[in-house]
C-alpha cells in the first residue's frame, strides 16, 4: 500500500463514536404545560403543519398532487419544508426498506419536539405486499411513534387529507406526543431499530 492510499483512507474514515463529532446525549421528555398557552400552541401546531419533504417510499408520488391546485393543502396551513429542523410532520410514504429506515430514524430524531408522523399506505402498517420481504420492515411503530396511519395501497390524496384532519384532531386534543413517547421508550425503540439495522454507524440519538 502506497503512502497516497494511506492518506486517502485517513480522510474518509468516519468515526461515529467520536464524542467530538457527535453529541452523545439522549433525548428527554419535555412535559406539556397544562394551561391555556399550551392549548394555544396546540392549535397553532395543528394549523401550521410543516411536513418534511422527504419521500421515503413509492407513496410519495401521491403527495405531489397535494400541493397542486386540485387538492391544495396550503389551505390547511400545511406546507413542505426541506429541512427536518423546521418541520414538525413526517410522512413515511410507503414501504420502509432497512436502508431507508436508517435515514428515517435520523431525520425523525433531527426534528424538534412536537413532531408528528403519518404512516402512509399499508406497508407502514404491516408490510403490505412486502410483508415477507427480507429487506423491509413490517410495523413502522416498532421503530418510531406513529400518530396516524392512512391505509391503502396506495391511498388517494383525499385519504391523506383525511389523515391530516385526523392528525389535527389528535394534536388539538393534546395526543400528539410522539416525541415524548419516543424519549420515554427510547431503549425499546433503539433495540428494535438495532435489530433491523446491522451496520449501525451513527450515534444512538441523532440530534
Amino acid at each position: 500500500m502506497t503512502e497516497a492510499d494511506n492518506e486517502e483512507n485517513k480522510i474518509i474514515k468516519p468515526d461515529f463514536s467520536d464524542p467530538e463529532l457527535f453529541c452523545t446525549a439522549l433525548p428527554k421528555e419535555v412535559p406539556r404545560m397544562n394551561n391555556i398557552i399550551q392549548k394555544f400552541y396546540d392549535w397553532a401546531q395543528a394549523n401550521s403543519l410543516w411536513l418534511l419533504a422527504f419521500g421515503t417510499g413509492c407513496g410519495s408520488i401521491e403527495m405531489r398532487p397535494l400541493y397542486t391546485a386540485r387538492y391544495d393543502i396550503s389551505r390547511f396551513g400545511i406546507a413542505p419544508r426541506p429541512t427536518p429542523r423546521q418541520s414538525n410532520l413526517f410522512i413515511i410514504s410507503g414501504y420502509v426498506s432497512v436502508k431507508t429506515l436508517k435515514r428515517i430514524i435520523r431525520s425523525y430524531e433531527q426534528m424538534q419536539n412536537p413532531k408528528f408522523v403519518i404512516g402512509l399506505g399499508s406497508c407502514t402498517i404491516n408490510g403490505g405486499m412486502y410483508w415477507d420481504s427480507y429487506n423491509t420492515i413490517n410495523r413502522l411503530d416498532h421503530y418510531i411513534p406513529v400518530d396516524v396511519y392512512v391505509a391503502g395501497c396506495m391511498p388517494r390524496p383525499e385519504a391523506l387529507i383525511a389523515g391530516f384532519d385526523e392528525l389535527k384532531k389528535r394534536i388539538k386534543e393534546g395526543r400528539g406526543e410522539g416525541a415524548n413517547e419516543y424519549a420515554k421508550n427510547f431503549a425499546w425503540y433503539k433495540a428494535n431499530q438495532k435489530k433491523i439495522i446491522k451496520d449501525w454507524d451513527m450515534p444512538d440519538y441523532n440530534w
Binding site: 480522510i11 468516519p14 427536518p84 431525520s107 419536539n113
Partner: protein
C-alpha cells in the same frame, strides 16, 4: 611636511633593494615590505591631516630643480591627499589580506606590490601628462604580473586580455599626448589646459584630446570596450581584483579627472554619455549573473561609469563643490565596498551566489557583507547615497532630467542583482562546507568596513545641518542591534520603553498633521510591539530592525525637508525589506517588494529633483509649492512613488506576497503602519503643492479614479484568496485605495474622511492581522480552508475578528461606517458620482471577503487535527483588545476623533463637518454615531434578553449533528465549505481581476532579463572580439565626437 617624492623614493628604493634584503630571510623581507607601505601611508595621512585640520594649502613639488613645465612636478592638494591616503590604506590592508600568497611567492611579489603602489601614488600625484603615462604603465604592468602570479588558467587568460586592452589604451594615449604636445608645446597638465585655449588647429586639437580621453575610457572599462575587464574580475584572484578594482580604478579615475580641464565640452559630454551608458548597460547585464565575482565586476564597471560621468559633469558645469559632494562619495563608496566584497569572495569561494548561505556561519563576515551590499545599492547613510543624492539635485538644478532618469534606472538594476544576492544569501539553505575564515583576511575586510562606516558618518554629518533630534528615533534600533545578545523578552520590553519615550519626546512638540501621524505611529507601534513579546526563538536582529523601522516612520514624520524625508523613506524601505525577508520562503516576495519600493523611491527622488530644480537653494517642503511647467511631472512622479508604497492598482503586485510571507507578527506593522507612510507622503505633497491641473488634465480626477479602482480591484482580488494573510493584504490595498480617493477630493470633508479612514484602517488591520497571527501561531497554517470551527477553541480571537470585519465592512455602528459615510458625503459633495459608485461597489464586495475570512477560519466544521489548539497567546490577544477598545471609543464618540481631524484639516481646507450635540452635519447629510450605537445596543440587548427568556432548554450539539439530507457527514474536510468559496463570483466577474498588471510586470521583468541576457552575450570571451569592440568604439566615438569634415 614630508615631500611626496619620498613616497616614490621609499617604494622604489625598497623595491630595488628587496632582492638583497630577502637574502636575510623572508621574515625580514616581509617586515621591510610592510614598513615601507606603512611609511608611505604615514606620509599620506600626514598630508591629509594637515589639509583637514591645519588648513594646509595645495603644494607643488617639482624635480630636477627646474620649474615646470620644463620639469615634471607633483601636485598635492586636498583631493590628491584623500586619494593617496585611501589608496595607501587599501594597499596596506590588501597586503595583509594577501600576506600568505605574497609570502608563498616570495620577495618578487612584494616588489611587484610595492611598485604597483608606487604607480598608483604617482598617477594621483603627477601633474605631467607623459609622466602620467609612465605611472599608468607602472601600475598596469605591476598589476598584470600580480594578476598572473598564481599561474591559474583563468588568471592568465584574464591577465592576457587585460594586457592587450591596456596595450591598445596606451597606443591611443601616446598618440593623444604627442598630438597635444605638438599643438601646445608643453606636457604639464596645468599649462596645457591653458595653452589649448590658444590653439588654432582646433580640429587636430579635438582629435588629440579625443584620443587621450578614449584611452582613459578603455582604462576605465567603459561599455562596450570592457569585456576584458569583467573577464579579468571574474577569473583573477580576488585579493588582486579587490585591490585593482578599488585602488586601480580610483587612481586611473583621478588621473582622468586631472586631464579633464584640457579637453573641450564636446568631449566631456561624450564622457558623460559613455559613463552613463556604461552605468545602465553594465548594471543591466549584471542582472543575469550568477557568479558573485562577475556580478561585482559588472557593478565595478558600472560604478566607474557613474563616477566618471559625474566627474565629467562637475568639470563641465564648472562646479568644483560637486566633486566633494557627489563624485568623491560615490567613488569612496565603491572603493571600500568593492574591495571588501571582492575580498569576501576570496573567503567564500562559491562561484554561484545561490550557494552563499554558508557565509551565515560567520556572523562578523555576514554583517560586513550586508553593510557592503547595502552601501553598493546606495542606501543611506552610506556615501553612495549622498553621492547620488547630491548628483541628482545638482543635475536637476541644471535641468538635466534625462540623466537623472538614467542614473536612477541604472541604480535600480544594480540594486536588482545586489539585493537578489543578499536575499538568497540571507535565506537559502546551503550545503555545509568548511570555509577557511583566515583571521588576517577577515581583519583586512573589517578594516575596510570600518573605513566605509567612517566615511559614511563623515558624509552623514557633513550633509546634515538639521538638529540631531531628527536622528533620535534611530537610536533605539541601533542600540538594540548592538545589544543583540540580550534575551528576546528584555529586548522587547526595551523596545516598548523606547517607543513610549519617543512618544513622550516627540508628541509633546508637534502639531498638525505630523502630530496626527506620529500619534498613530507611536500608539500603533506600542500596541503592536506587545504582540512580538510572544517570540520565543532567539533572533539577534529582529528588534533592532523593528525599532529602526518604527524609528524611520517617526523620523519620516519629523522630517523638516526632503532630504530627511528621503533618508527616512530609504531606511524604512530597507528595514522593512529585511523584516519581510525574515519570513519563511520569502525570497521571491521580499525581492519583489524591495524592487518595487526602490523603484518607487527613485521615482520620488526624481520628482523631488524636478521640484527642486526651480528652487535649488532650499530643501524644505516649500519646493513643492512653486508652480511651473515641471510641477505636474514632479507631482506625477512623486505620487507614483507613494502609490507604489500604498500598492495602488497596477503597482500592487508585490503586496500580497510581501504581506503574506512576512512573519506573522510583522505583517500588522507593515499593513497598519507602514502603508500609512505613503499616505503621509501624499498628505505632505498635497498640502504644499496641491494637485496640479491643466486645461486638459485634472490630476485630482485621475488620482481619484486610481483610488477608486484600487479599492474595487483590491477588494475583488481579496475575495478569491485562500490564504488569510493574502486576503487581508488585498483588503489593505483596497482600504488604502479609499484613503487615496478621499485625499484626492481636496476638500475639508474629503480629508476628514481620509484621516478617519486611515485611523480606522490602522486600528482594524492591526486587530485582524494580529488575530490571524495568533491563529497561525496555533495552527501553523494560513490556508483558511484548512482551518474551520476555531470559534470554540479561540473565542477571543473570533470576537476580535468579528469586530474587525464589522468595522472594516462599514456596517454601523462601528467606526467603519463613519469612514464610509464621510467618504461618500465628500464624494457626492465634490460631484464625483461614478467614483462614489465604484467605491460603493468595492465596499459591498468587501462583505464577501469579510465573511469568508471569519467563516473559513472560525465557523463551519472544526478539523480533527486542530482539536487540541488553544486560544492564541495573551501577547496576541491583549493588543487586539486594546485596539478594539479604541474602535469602540471612536464608534460611540466619533466626535472625539473627527474633531481632532477637523482641527488639523480646517486651516487648509476649512471645516468639513459641523456639530450640533452629538450629530455630525455635512452639506448633504448627518450622522449621530452615539445614538446609533445606543439604539442598536438597546435593540440587541432587548432581543437577546427576549430570546434568553423564551428559549426552551437548549441541547448543545456537536459539529456533525447537522441536517445532512438524512445522511451523515463523512469528514470535516468534506463538510467544510471554504475552498474556492466564491467560485461563481469569479466565473461571473473574473474578468475584472484578470492579471493584467501581473502579466505586465512579469513581461517587464522577463524582457529586462532577456535583454540583459542577450546583451551580455556580446562578451564572448574571445580576446579578438574585445579588440574589435575597442577599435570599433574608437571609430564610432571618433566620428560622433570629432565628426567627419
Amino acid at each position: 611636511m614630508v615631500n611626496p617624492l619620498y613616497i616614490v623614493a621609499i617604494l622604489l628604493g625598497t623595491g630595488f633593494l628587496l632582492p638583497l634584503i630577502s637574502k636575510a630571510g623572508r621574515r625580514v623581507a616581509l617586515t621591510v615590505f610592510f614598513m615601507s607601505l606603512i611609511a608611505v601611508s604615514a606620509i599620506s595621512y600626514q598630508w591629509l591631516w594637515s589639509f583637514l585640520f591645519d588648513g594646509q594649502a595645495p603644494a607643488m613639488f617639482y624635480t630636477a630643480g627646474v620649474e615646470p613645465p620644463l620639469s615634471i612636478n607633483f601636485l598635492l592638494g586636498f583631493k590628491e591627499a584623500i586619494f593617496i591616503t585611501a589608496v595607501n590604506l587599501i594597499a596596506v590592508v590588501g597586503a595583509i589580506y594577501m600576506s600568505t600568497q605574497i609570502k608563498e611567492t616570495g620577495y618578487k611579489a612584494m616588489i611587484l606590490f610595492l611598485l604597483m603602489v608606487l604607480g598608483l601614488n604617482g598617477l594621483i600625484l603627477t601633474a605631467d601628462i607623459f609622466n602620467l603615462f609612465v605611472f599608468l604603465e607602472i601600475t598596469s604592468i605591476a598589476t598584470f604580473s600580480l594578476v598572473g602570479m598564481d599561474l591559474k588558467l583563468n588568471s592568465l587568460t584574464g591577465g592576457l586580455k587585460y594586457m592587450i586592452a591596456g596595450g591598445l589604451a596606451s597606443v591611443f594615449l601616446l598618440l593623444g599626448i604627442i598630438i597635444l604636445y605638438s599643438l601646445t608645446g608643453t606636457l604639464g597638465i596645468e599649462s596645457m589646459s591653458q595653452y589649448v585655449l590658444n590653439v588654432d588647429n582646433v580640429k587636430l586639437l579635438s582629435i588629440g584630446s579625443f584620443l587621450l580621453i578614449f584611452s582613459f575610457i578603455i582604462e576605465m572599462k567603459q561599455f562596450p570596450s570592457n569585456g576584458w575587464a569583467i573577464d579579468a574580475y571574474d577569473g583573477v584572484n580576488p585579493g588582486i581584483t579587490g585591490l585593482a578594482s578599488a585602488t586601480g580604478t580610483a587612481a586611473v579615475f583621478y588621473s582622468l579627472y586631472k586631464i579633464m580641464p584640457i579637453v573641450s565640452d564636446e568631449i566631456l559630454s561624450m564622457i558623460i554619455f559613455i559613463g552613463s551608458l556604461t552605468f545602465v548597460v553594465s548594471n543591466l547585464m549584471g542582472l543575469m549573473q550568477t557568479s558573485p565575482r562577475r556580478m561585482l565586476g559588472y557593478s565595478s564597471v558600472a560604478q566607474m561609469g557613474l563616477v566618471m560621468a559625474a566627474a565629467a559633469w562637475s568639470v563641465f558645469s564648472q562646479n568644483e563643490g560637486l566633486f566633494f559632494a557627489a563624485v568623491l562619495p560615490l567613488l569612496l563608496n565603491h572603493f571600500f565596498a568593492k574591495a571588501g566584497l571582492f575580498w569576501i569572495t576570496g573567503i567564500i569561494k562559491k562561484n554561484d551566489y545561490r550557494k552563499w548561505g554558508v557565509i551565515r556561519e560567520n556572523k562578523v563576515l555576514l554583517g560586513i557583507f550586508i553593510v557592503m551590499v547595502l552601501a553598493l545599492t546606495g542606501m543611506p547613510p552610506f556615501p553612495g547615497f549622498w553621492g547620488k543624492w547630491n548628483l541628482v539635485l545638482d543635475l536637476s538644478a541644471n535641468f538635466e532630467f534625462f540623466w537623472i532618469f538614467i542614473i536612477l534606472l541604472g541604480s535600480l538594476f544594480e540594486a536588482g542583482y545586489m539585493l537578489k544576492w543578499l536575499g538568497v544569501t540571507l535565506k537559502k539553505t546551503y550545503e555545509k562546507d568548511i570555509v577557511a575564515y583566515d583571521s588576517y583576511k577577515v581583519l583586512a575586510i573589517e578594516i575596510v568596513n570600518i573605513m566605509l562606516l567612517i566615511v559614511s558618518f563623515y558624509y552623514f554629518f557633513r550633509q546634515n545641518h538639521t538638529h540631531m533630534g531628527y536622528y533620535l528615533p534611530y537610536t533605539a534600533g541601533l542600540a538594540l542591534l548592538g545589544l543583540r545578545f540580550l534575551p528576546e523578552k528584555i529586548k522587547g520590553v526595551l523596545s516598548l520603553a523606547s517607543i513610549f519615550l519617543y512618544g513622550y519626546l516627540f508628541l509633546t512638540h508637534q502639531s498638525g498633521f505630523p502630530l496626527f501621524f506620529n500619534a498613530m505611529f507611536v500608539f500603533g507601534a506600542f500596541v503592536l510591539t506587545i504582540a512580538t513579546l510572544n517570540r520565543k526563538k532567539k533572533s539577534s536582529t529582529f528588534y533592532g530592525l523593528l525599532m529602526l523601522m518604527i524609528g524611520s516612520l517617526i523620523a519620516l514624520v519629523n522630517a523638516e525637508n526632503i532630504l530627511n524625508f528621503f533618508i527616512s523613506w530609504e531606511i524604512m524601505t530597507v528595514t522593512s525589506y529585511l523584516l519581510i525577508h525574515r519570513g519563511r520562503d520569502s525570497e521571491k516576495e521580499s525581492f519583489s517588494y524591495i524592487m518595487f519600493s526602490l523603484g518607487g523611491a527613485f521615482l520620488i527622488l526624481m520628482g523631488f529633483a524636478l521640484a527642486y530644480s526651480e528652487n535649488p537653494q532650499a530643501l524644505g517642503y516649500g519646493i513643492f509649492s512653486i508652480a511651473n511647467e515641471n510641477s505636474m511631472t514632479a507631482f506625477i512622479l512623486i505620487s507614483l512613488g507613494f502609490l507604489i508604497k500604498t500598492a495602488a492598482l497596477g503597482v500592487h503586485i508585490w503586496i500580497a506576497g510581501a504581506y503574506s510571507k512576512a512573519e506573522d507578527d510583522v505583517t500588522p506593522f507593515i499593513s497598519a503602519l507602514l502603508s500609512k507612510a505613503g499616505i503621509f507622503g501624499f498628505v505632505m505633497l498635497l498640502l504644499t503643492m496641491g494637485i496640479p491641473r491643466t486645461e486638459y488634465i485634472d490630476l485630482a480626477y485621475i488620482l481619484s479614479w486610481i483610488g477608486a479602482l484600487t479599492a474595487l480591484i483590491g477588494t475583488m482580488m481579496a475575495i478569491h484568496e485562500e490564504n488569510a494573510k493574502r486576503l487581508l493584504a488585498y483588503s489593505s490595498m483596497g482600504q488604502v485605495g479609499y484613503i487615496i480617493l478621499a485625499l484626492s477630493i481636496m476638500s475639508g470633508l474629503g480629508w476628514t474622511a481620509a484621516m478617519f479612514q486611515m485611523i480606522n484602517h490602522f486600528l482594524i488591520k492591526g486587530v485582524l492581522f494580529l488575530a490571524i497571527a495568533g491563529v497561525i501561531f496555533r495552527t501553523g497554517t494560513a490556508d483558511m480552508y484548512k482551518m474551520g470551527g476555531l470559534i470554540k477553541k479561540m473565542p477571543w480571537s473570533f470576537t476580535a475578528v468579528m469586530f474587525g470585519i464589522i468595522a472594516i465592512s462599514g456596517v454601523p455602528p462601528l467606526t467603519g461606517f463613519g469612514a464610509k459615510w464621510l467618504l461618500y458625503e465628500a464624494l457626492i459633495e465634490k460631484g464625483w458620482y461614478l467614483q462614489t459608485g465604484a467605491a460603493f461597489f468595492a465596499s459591498t464586495v468587501a462583505f464577501l471577503y469579510c465573511f469568508r475570512l471569519i467563516h473559513a477560519i472560525f465557523l463551519g466544521q472544526p478539523k480533527n487535527e486542530f482539536r487540541n489548539v488553544k486560544e492564541a497567546p495573551a501577547w496576541f490577544i491583549v493588543p487586539q483588545y486594546i485596539l478594539i477598545m479604541v474602535i469602540f471609543l471612536f464608534s460611540v464618540f466619533p466626535k472625539l476623533l473627527i474633531e481632532q481631524i477637523t482641527r488639523i484639516v480646517e486651516p487648509v481646507f476649512g471645516q468639513g463637518v459641523t456639530w450640533t450635540d452629538g450629530t455630525a452635519y455635512t452639506s448633504l447629510g448627518y450622522w449621530n454615531g452615539t445614538t446609533v450605537m445606543i439604539i442598536v445596543g438597546t435593540i440587541f440587548v432587548v432581543l437577546t434578553a427576549g430570546l434568553l427568556i423564551k428559549m426552551p432548554k437548549i441541547q448543545k450539539v456537536k459539529q456533525f449533528n447537522i441536517v445532512f439530507s438524512a445522511e451523515r457527514p463523512e469528514t470535516p474536510e468534506l463538510t467544510h465549505f471554504a475552498y474556492e468559496f466564491f467560485r461563481p463570483y469569479r466565473r461571473a466577474l473574473g474578468w475584472m481581476i484578470a492579471p493584467y498588471a501581473k502579466n505586465f510586470w512579469a513581461a517587464v521583468s522577463e524582457w529586462t532579463y532577456t535583454i540583459s541576457d542577450s546583451l551580455r552575450k556580446i562578451y564572448t570571451g574571445n580576446t579578438q572580439t574585445y579588440i574589435f569592440y575597442i577599435l570599433m568604439m574608437s571609430v564610432v566615438l571618433f566620428y560622433v565626437t570629432v565628426g567627419v569634415k
